[in-house]
Amino acid sequence: MDVIVETRTQGAWTVVEVAGELDLHTSPPLREHVLQLIEEGTGLLALDMTKVEFLDSSSLGALVMCLKRMRERDGRLVLAGVAGTPMKVLNLTGLDGVFELAPSTAELPSD
């Protein structure tokens, strides 16, 4: 199942809408898509996680890789709308303090 629903522009931000369950199998395509966007010069990138129902540590590894690459390019990667089990996983691993979080894509930080 493809977890990438849509990639769109919202003001200065590029928003990737993600849905479903992120695990060892489904997160690599997302990682490659995000890394490609960064490679193409996207500097403000938000992942809309509102419809992500599940996230494991393999997916966290993929997201951390994307975050590191974005920071190397002086860009920003925001996770928007994280809730439920994905938020619990972020909290348990302490990565809620590493990622920039937004309540929703409607409330992305001003660039």
């Binding site: 695990d23 599940f54 540590s57 393999s58 348990l92």
Partner: protein, 130 residues
């Protein structure tokens, strides 16, 4: 699922594409037993982490078996093999002194039993009160 000591199991190939089937299995059994949604979500996460570790460790040549045992309105989950849980997964190096996967599992289920000799992980959750 009201019979005592009822056992169910699912065996998957050691392939990440099949781990979603384990989550579906655990979710279905958890709902039948009457576990809370939060407990079910936690069990699904633990099962996923254990399967992923076994796949990465390449210790599951004959596949991975996930067993559920229901006893006294308590659901016990066993994953075999469950991986070694001795190193951090790729991309999270340095996150903690112990593997992130194990930290997650012990954070959700402090009483989780790791049996490295047999390669089994065992966790349990109780059904909600009626």
């Amino acid at each position: 699922m009201s019979a005592p000591s009822e056992r169910l199991s699912i065996r998957i190939p050691a392939d990440a594409a099949h781990v979603a089937a384990v989550r579906a299995f655990v979710g279905a059994v958890g709902r039948q037993v009457g576990c809370s949604q939060e407990s079910i979500d936690d069990l699904r996460l633990v099962a996923t982490e254990a399967c992923a570790q076994a796949i990465e460790d390449a210790t599951a040549r004959d596949g991975i078996e996930v067993r559920t045992v229901v006893e006294d309105r308590r659901l016990v989950l066993e994953i075999e093999p469950a991986g070694a849980f001795e190193r951090s997964p790729a991309g999270l190096d340095g996150a903690a002194g112990i593997s992130t996967r194990r930290a997650l599992i012990e954070g959700l289920f402090p009483e989780a039993e790791f049996d490295p000799g047999r390669g089994i992980l065992r966790v349990g959750a109780s059904a909600q009160d009626d």
